[in-house]
Symmetry: C2
Subunit: 366 residues, 2 copies
């Protein structure tokens, strides 16, 4: 909390929903108490860089839209590297979901630029990129890498797991509903009763509400959950088998095989009712055992198994009683917490809470 | 996570249950990756200080018990102050619950020594001490003050609240079961049914299990909850009325007036059955409305009210369905989280998880 915090220059790549919200939150910090100077913005088509006249809240959109400069990440890397010094920090905020941007993290970190991101691609992708990031962030003079918002958005998930591991607790199992979309779908679909709305109708409504990707198969394939599990597994990699990539997670997709290669979301939604009986049988079977269906992710450290798929929980379990809306819920079963896990729950998606998770990481640099 | 972290000298005051566990956790960090040097221990009767030969895990108990030096906090202050430099940090860990130790925090912080503590006395006591701590921690060259473990032990409560506030979210209400003792008592006593075990028998068992203070009135008076609410209120003091001291919390004690001044825990337990009818009436009334009784703390930012007392919740509420054992559960209702709060739940007391909260704070200095 010392007021002598060094100046921190901030460059933002990606100004979509999360990026815009992040910029607004950052610029809303009273300048009297803010060490941050927003000096660069990059969209898919334009870029601005001005480290002598930081960007202000009233003008950032027009400054970017009026710029004649095209995005040039190698040039940005040079410009930012030149600003790193013992009395000045530089942070690059990647608010894209681009693998190309993620591939540049080691370069930035090696140059002493801290990287903060809600982009899951880097830490859940190929092991070589992951290891290059860890190596660069660990070396003397390297930037810090923070990605709290990749799992649970603004919820304290990664920081809590890091603290458990760093203080010597033994993680036994992490178990949770990690996808807001899957949470909404199954909170609506499976309430413990044998019947209810058709699966296809719940997915259709979720899509209309904007809770799914344009093509719902991109949620129902479970890949988003698998990526989040990979990120968490790597945080505890000292005690659990390190995953080679997110494809190593045993993921049970909910996409019916016959709909695997449907090109458009509209066609997918149109054909999904053919499979309502399939889901209804699972719902009824669970109900007859006093259970609900939830699409969960599990990191089982003891067995080394990491899996994403549809599982059953008693109607008295917090995944049934406590969950609602599109909440995430994550349970950390550890040695110190014994038989009753540490639980974090709340909205795990949305621009405001995701941007908050990113800004929370940036505040750790002060 | 740069490996060039400066050396951090650590002095521990208080080596009881939490203190001992903290020392063991600290010394279990592999020395190859630990920037920490444990250089001083102080108990109620002895002290050791040796900054050239840091204390090791095998010898700390004998080093302390073999010391001929009596505790001398003014001398320790001088010794630690002399070690503060741009390349060396010093942290004092107060694992006592002493007001006298808490009164020294401003001195230490002003000397550049960081203070980390699960001791609630400082931040929940008189406003002048609180303000002196904040001022000292804010000044150039001041130490950092961290007290995550004062609320919810190892659970991420204070850090989450700080992030919400610092990123510009508006806290509407904080509501929770903050006392592990009260949690256990009412999870056992009030399950939604009209009848159950006598209140006095639940308290008696809780005491036998070591869940209460030796004198159960020290839990039933609600002061522990009031202190925690004061700490949280002060974190959001920019937007809510700052409390003058923990006595300002509207606390409804559970101690029957006739038992207010009973000297011993044994006598208190012996006389508590006289009031079983009183509690039974409340339980039955709640049950007839489909509700349970929970001893909660509430910080209502809109109304400026901060209160601790017995309240009723529907049997479908997470305080009824999700809570068990001696768990804490805390709900943050905020503008960004909308109608569904951010929830943190888990054990909120016990040496292992409290020490973990303290060590997690210490790791923030790296």
């Amino acid at each position: 909390m010392a007021s002598s915090t060094p100046k921190i220059y901030v460059a933002v790549v990606g100004v979509g929903l999360v990026g815009s919200e992040f910029i607004n939150q950052l610029l809303a910090i009273p300048s009297s108490s803010s060490p941050f100077h927003l000096i660069s913005l990059t969209s898919t088509t334009r870029t601005v860089f001005n480290h002598t006249h930081p960007i202000s809240s009233s003008s950032w959109k027009s400054e970017l839209s009026n710029s004649a400069d095209r995005p040039d990440l190698p040039k940005l890397t040079q410009q930012l590297s030149a600003l790193v010094s013992p009395t000045q920090k530089v942070a690059l905020i990647d608010n894209t979901s681009s693998e190309d941007v993620a591939a540049l993290y080691p370069t930035w970190l090696n140059a002493g630029i801290s990287v903060i991101t809600p982009n899951k691609k880097a830490f859940s992708g190929d092991i070589s990129l992951y290891e290059a990031i860890v190596a660069a962030a660990s070396k003397t003079g390297g930037g810090r890498f923070l990605n709290e918002a990749t799992v649970g958005a603004g919820l304290p998930i990664i920081s809590t797991l890091k603290d458990l591991v760093a203080t010597g607790d033994k993680v036994v199992k992490i178990e949770g509903v990690f996808s807001g979309t899957m949470s909404y779908i199954f909170n609506e679909y499976s309430t413990g009763k044998p019947d209810g709305p058709a699966f296809s109708s719940v997915v259709k409504i979720a899509r209309e509400k904007g809770y799914t990707e344009p093509h719902p198969a991109d949620d129902l394939n479970g890949a988003d959950v698998a990526r989040k599990l990979t990120i968490l597994s790597r945080v505890i990699s000292a005690t659990s088998p390190r995953l080679q990539s997110f494809a190593s997670v045993e993921t049970t997709s909910l996409i019916p095989p016959a709909l695997e290669n449907i090109a458009t979301g509209d066609e997918f939604i149109a054909r999904l009712p053919e499979f309502d009986d399939h889901f209804q049988k699972m719902r009824a079977a669970a109900s007859s055992d006093g259970q609900v269906l939830r699409f969960v992710g599990v990191v089982d450290v003891a067995s080394g198994q990491v899996r994403a798929g549809l599982e059953r929980y008693p109607t008295t379990h917090p995944f049934a009683t406590s969950l609602g809306g599109s909440d995430n819920i994550i349970m950390f079963h550890t040695e110190r917490y014994g038989t009753r896990p540490l639980i974090v729950q709340g909205a795990g998606a949305g621009a405001a809470v995701t941007a908050m998770g990113v800004l929370g990481d940036l505040l750790k640099l002060t």
